[in-house]
Symmetry: C3
Subunit: 219 residues, 3 copies
């Protein structure tokens, strides 16, 4: 998930931080679903690396960063061990996990958009891949665990919207050739802040108009 937006070293550490917090959420879901430690590790790997893997396959960057950089691969395993030994403590700081997950969302929607754009994709496609980088791992996590992805559900706070805002702003800045590190950080902060506000105030996206209320509870 590297991109030369920030200095390579800083970008790499930001990537690892994003992978780590996503992986924590995957390993925690593994605990809640009563999976064993290998099930936890698979969910952690998929959540942390799945979005970037999808993006890299689409833009033809093989082998994907997830398999080319050892740190990327080992980070979810560290997260798994942490949750394995300390999960009651990790659960207790669930709000903190939500905040870190929002930070990962912000970082990845920017980094994913930049990498896709640098590989020659158009603005719209780059924005879409930025959102997919940020949200794709969580969707795969939920599918593997046999749950309907939270991203799709009406009864969850908005998740795609913050990523879409951050990715769109990034694409506009790239188009205008104005994506400085500070501007990239601002785009990530935008996604991060909107996601935090959505969690705090329970923001949801609308369902289809004129949906009969009698069917609202069926899903």
């Amino acid at each position: 998930m590297s991109a030369d937006l920030f200095s390579p070293s800083l970008q790499h550490w930001l990537d690892l931080a994003g992978i780590f917090v996503f992986a924590i959420s995957g390993a925690l879901l593994g605990v809640r679903k009563n999976f064993d430690v290998f099930g936890m590790a698979v969910l952690a790997l998929v959540t942390g690396l799945g979005g970037g893997l999808f993006r890299d396959l689409v833009i033809g960057s093989v082998p994907p960063a997830a398999f080319a950089d050892l740190g990327y691969f080992l980070t979810p395993l560290v997260a798994t061990l942490l949750v394995f030994f300390l999960h009651p403590e990790v659960e207790r700081i669930n709000t903190a996990v939500g905040v870190f997950d929002a930070a990962g969302l912000g970082l990845f929607c920017v980094a994913g958009t930049v990498k896709a754009y640098e590989h020659g994709l158009g603005m719209t496609a780059s924005t879409a891949l930025g959102v997919a980088t940020a949200a794709g791992g969580g969707v795969l996590r939920d599918m593997l665990a046999g749950e309907v992805p939270a991203l799709l559900r009406w009864d969850r706070e908005i998740y795609a919207v913050p990523a879409l805002l951050g990715a769109t702003l990034t694409a506009l800045l790239l188009k205008a050739d104005q994506l400085s590190p500070a501007a990239g950080a601002a785009a990530a902060a935008l996604a991060f802040t909107v996601r935090l506000l959505a969690m705090r105030y329970g923001w949801r996206a609308p369902r289809a108009w004129q949906r009969r209320s009698g069917r609202a509870g069926e899903a």
Copy 2:
């Protein structure tokens, strides 16, 4: 999903039409599952573009058409908006949607087979990718929504068979170097017609022989 079978412009419009009708079915499932508008959009994108995306990744055509052509990407979003504002009306013409979906099936099984063949794959592999192009989006749609894919289920009318017939005929015509636009249209019409007849007369494929009836209801 392009292929120079018809004139580029006509082929492009046919592709968009196929993507559109598949996307409608995805967005409608989103309404039925009580998803929000972004969940509807994700299902519409996946249903309309997923089959072609899988084919393009397999044949190494990156970035896939879904991300290289803006019209391909925007069409499912238009379908989402339409269903969002008008879904009772769209539901009412559900039979029409089924007919359009059958048309998309016919178009995509031919276009997918042609594109795979042009990328150097063999007849059998091209046929398989034609079927995957036509049916893959619907399978991904059902998996994301937490449903067992209709394609696999015994209690649904056959869907793979019409696509298989159209794709096989296309591959045979390609092998014989006889795939004129008219012949391609005939292959698409074959798949379309068989699917319509299957829906009209409730054609199903057989289950395993000697399956004990006592276990029939468990799935």
Copy 3:
């Protein structure tokens, strides 16, 4: 799934054998889920070829072996026909199927690691792709059928561990430039034996520490 570890011809036959036994397990799940014959075929194809397809997409080997070698593609269809006509007999030898599946696991974790390593991936990434080659098809099979993948579940015997042992040994041998056919066969035999012992003695992997027993039954 070819690799020049053994003579090409022997390797090819071992690959086909592995695909065949995996495909049998896919087709049998299709019977249990009450799918029709096309649903059985899709599950057989996905189980037999899915792991190798994922590996080939990741290492950029397109078209993947599954679509480049006709024998690879036809083998799952033969397995489907066999189960379709003879499934009570196949069910009766379910233990034998388990043994063959363990053999496929052993063969594929070695062959997958070798192929990834030959494409220039590092030791850890090659090991991971070896495990993914061996276990990926079964995960996709379970996801398609609407089941939580057996690989993740605590109440199933370990499956990832034998593959991990075989793949790790293979990667170490490759690193030391000592992977003779005999050494490769030993790595496959290691995975095979550990999996058989796990099935025989009900070996399971641990869940997260301090997991409260009151929540154990919820998943």
